[in-house]
C-alpha cells in the first residue's frame, strides 16, 4: 500500500534527477522501473579510467545502478543502493564491481547528491588513496603514485550557462 512520504520523496528525486540530466552534457539518467521510479541507470559520459590488458586507459562511458528500496528514508545500505554496472574493469580505488564506495550515505540522501558524488569518484575529482579503506588496493597504490594526473576530467557535471546577451550593434546614423 502507498507510503505517501516515500512516494513524495521518489517523485521529487525523479524531477530533480531528470532536470540535472537535461542540464548536463556528461550524464544520462534512465529510469528503469517503478512509478515513481525506484531504479535508475546513471550513465556518465565523462572521462575515467579502466584497466585493460595493456594497462590503465581512459574511458568515457560508465554505468551505475541506483536502487531506492522501501525503507531508504530510514536506512541506507550503500551496497544495496548503488551497483557498479559497466565497465566491469573500472580502475579506481573505490570501485570493485559490483561495489562502488562513495563513503557513508545518510538515509534519504537525494538522487542529485548521489549523482554528484558518483561523478566525483569516476572522474577522480575526489580520491583518497588510503589502502585500509580501498576496495581496490592495487588501484589505490597506483593512484598514490599518479596524483598529478587527477582529476581525469575537469568539466563540470552541470553545463555552465553563461547567459550572454548578444545584441547586434546598430550603427548610429
Amino acid at each position: 500500500m502507498a507510503d505517501l512520504v516515500l512516494e513524495g520523496f521518489l517523485r521529487k528525486q525523479f524531477e530533480e534527477g531528470m532536470a540535472l540530466a537535461r542540464q548536463s552534457d556528461l550524464l544520462e539518467l534512465i529510469p528503469v522501473s517503478g512509478d515513481p521510479a525506484r531504479r535508475y541507470i546513471a550513465r556518465f559520459r565523462c572521462k575515467g579510467l579502466v584497466r585493460n590488458p595493456d594497462g590503465v586507459a581512459e574511458h568515457n562511458d560508465f554505468h551505475v545502478g541506483v536502487h531506492f528500496l522501501d525503507d531508504y528514508l530510514r536506512r541506507a545500505d550503500p551496497f544495496q543502493l548503488l551497483t557498479w554496472l559497466l565497465p566491469p574493469h573500472a580502475w579506481h580505488p573505490n570501485v570493485n564491481a559490483p561495489a562502488i564506495c562513495i563513503g557513508k550515505v545518510t538515509p534519504g540522501t537525494s538522487l542529485v547528491d548521489l549523482l554528484y558524488r558518483l561523478f566525483e569518484v569516476i572522474t577522480y575529482n575526489k580520491v583518497t588513496p588510503r589502502e585500509d579503506d580501498a576496495l581496490n588496493r592495487v588501484a589505490c597504490q597506483w593512484a598514490r603514485r599518479n596524483r598529478d594526473r587527477f582529476p581525469i576530467d575537469r568539466r563540470p557535471l552541470k553545463r555552465r550557462s553563461l547567459k550572454l546577451r548578444v545584441e547586434t550593434a546598430s550603427a548610429e546614423t
Binding site: 545502478g65 545500505d77 544495496q80 561495489a99
Partner: protein, 366 residues
C-alpha cells in the same frame, strides 16, 4: 492495559550489556513473568567486568547464554531462551511477547526494535545512558497509528548518526563508540526501565509513561519528563499489523498459494504482490572477483555459504543492489515461481509474509 489477566507474561530483552545485564536480575525476580527471550549477538569481554553485571568466568562467553543461565539460577522454573544473533536476523513472529525491552547502544538496532514492535503491536521500552553527563533515560512506546514512535522525534541529524557499514569500510558499524558507562549508571537505567515495565503490566493508566521519556540527570540531581507527539512527517509508516495464522504448515506453502488466494481467501488480482517484512528478494548472485553470475531467487541475506560460493573461482558471490526486489509481483512471476515452496526462498518459521494489492494488505505468520 497490556496484560489484563496478569497471566502468561512473556518478555523479550534486546541487548544484555551495561543496562540489560542489570535488567535481567530484576526480571528474574518478577513472579508474573513466565517467559523470557534474551537477544544479544556479542560475547562478554574483560572490559565489561567494570560496567556489566557479570563474573570474571563469563568473559569470552555469549552474553545471552550467560544471562539466561543467571536468570535460571534465580528462578529455575522460568522459561528462558538465549538468542545469539542480531535482532534484525530474528524472524519477526518470534519477537511476539507482552513487552519488548531494548537495552541497546546503537540507533540502528533501536530502529529495528521500534519497527518490529509497531508491526507486532507490542509496547516497547527503550533505555539509554550517557556516561559523560551521568544521564539515564527510559522511553515507553505503545504502538498505534497515532502514537509517537522512536523516529517521530528524529531529525536529519539523527539519521546521519545511524551506524552504517559501507563498502570501503565494512567494519565501520562494529566500531561504534562504546558507552563505557559505569555499572552504577547502567543499573539506574535498568531499575527505571523495569519500574516502567511493572506499571505497564499492572495497567495503571494515570501513571503510565506511554509516549514519554524520563531522564535522570544524576550529576545535577534533576529529573526531566518529555512527552512526544506523533510527527505527521515521520519517515516510519506506523503500521500495526494484524497477524493471521495459516492452516497449512510452512513446509507445504508455495508462492502461488499466497498470491492466488488459495489460502489467503481473497480474490486473485493481477496487482497482488508478496513481501517479507522489509527484507528484499535477490534474483541473482554475482562474483566480485571473476564477474560470474548465477540466477538464484531467494531472500537477501538468507543464502547459505554453499549457495554463495562461485562455481568458477570459489569466491563468495554477492547480491547486487540492482538485483534486489522488494516484493514478488503476481503480474511478473512465471508458473515455475508460483510453484516454488516458500522454504526454498529462504522463509523460516516465525517470518511474516505480506500479501497486498491496491486495496488490501494482509500479514501471515508462517
Amino acid at each position: 492495559m497490556v496484560n489484563p489477566q496478569g497471566e502468561n507474561v512473556s518478555l523479550v530483552v534486546v541487548g544484555v550489556g551495561n543496562v540489560g545485564s542489570h535488567v535481567c536480575r530484576h526480571l528474574a525476580r518478577m513472579p508474573e513473568v513466565n517467559r523470557l527471550m534474551l537477544i544479544d549477538k556479542d560475547c562478554y569481554e574483560e572490559k565489561n567486568l567494570r560496567s556489566q553485571d557479570i563474573l570474571a568466568s563469563d568473559c569470552g562467553k555469549p552474553k545471552a547464554v550467560v544471562q539466561a543461565r543467571q536468570v535460571r539460577r534465580i528462578r529455575p522454573d522460568l522459561e528462558v531462551e538465549a538468542v545469539t544473533v542480531p535482532v534484525q536476523e530474528v524472524p519477526l513472529g518470534q519477537l511476539r511477547s507482552t513487552v519488548i525491552l531494548a537495552c541497546l547502544d546503537t540507533k540502528a538496532a533501536r530502529q529495528d526494535v521500534n519497527e518490529a514492535a509497531w508491526h507486532l503491536g507490542i509496547p516497547w521500552i527503550d533505555s539509554g545512558v550517557a556516561a559523560d553527563g551521568l544521564l539515564a533515560r527510559v522511553n515507553v512506546y505503545v504502538p498505534s497509528p497515532d502514537a509517537p514512535c522512536l523516529e517521530c522525534a528524529w531529525d536529519r541529524r539523527d539519521y546521519e548518526l545511524i551506524e552504517q557499514s559501507y563498502p570501503c569500510d565494512p567494519d565501520a558499524s562494529a566500531r561504534t563508540a562504546h558507552t563505557n558507562a559505569p555499572s552504577s549508571l547502567g543499573a539506574l537505567a535498568a531499575a527505571m526501565q523495569v519500574i516502567e515495565l511493572q506499571k505497564l503490566l499492572a495497567g495503571s493508566p494515570d501513571r503510565l509513561l506511554a509516549g514519554c521519556e524520563v531522564t535522570i540527570d544524576a550529576s545535577h540531581h534533576k529529573q526531566r519528563v518529555t512527552a512526544y507527539r506523533r510527527n505527521p512527517q515521520c519517515r516510519f509508516d506506523h503500521a500495526v499489523w494484524r497477524l493471521e495464522q495459516l492452516d497449512r504448515p510452512l513446509s507445504a506453502l508455495t508462492v502461488g498459494d499466497l498470491l492466488d488466494g488459495a489460502v489467503a481467501g481473497r480474490i486473485p488480482s493481477n496487482s497482488a504482490s508478496l513481501s517479507a517484512a522489509g527484507r528484499p528478494f535477490a534474483r541473482r548472485l554475482t562474483c566480485p572477483r571473476c564477474g560470474a553470475a548465477r540466477d538464484f531467487l531467494r531472500l537477501a541475506g538468507r543464502f547459505s555459504r554453499a549457495m554463495r560460493r562461485c562455481r568458477e573461482c570459489r569466491h563468495d558471490m554477492v547480491a547486487r543492489g540492482f538485483d534486489l526486489m522488494p516484493r514478488l509481483e503476481q503480474a511478473s512471476i512465471g508458473r515455475a515461481l508460483a510453484r516454488r515452496k516458500l522454504t526454498s526462498l529462504g522463509f523460516r518459521a516465525g517470518d511474516v509474509v505480506t500479501v497486498e494489492d491496491d486495496h488490501t494488505e494482509r500479514h501471515f505468520l508462517l
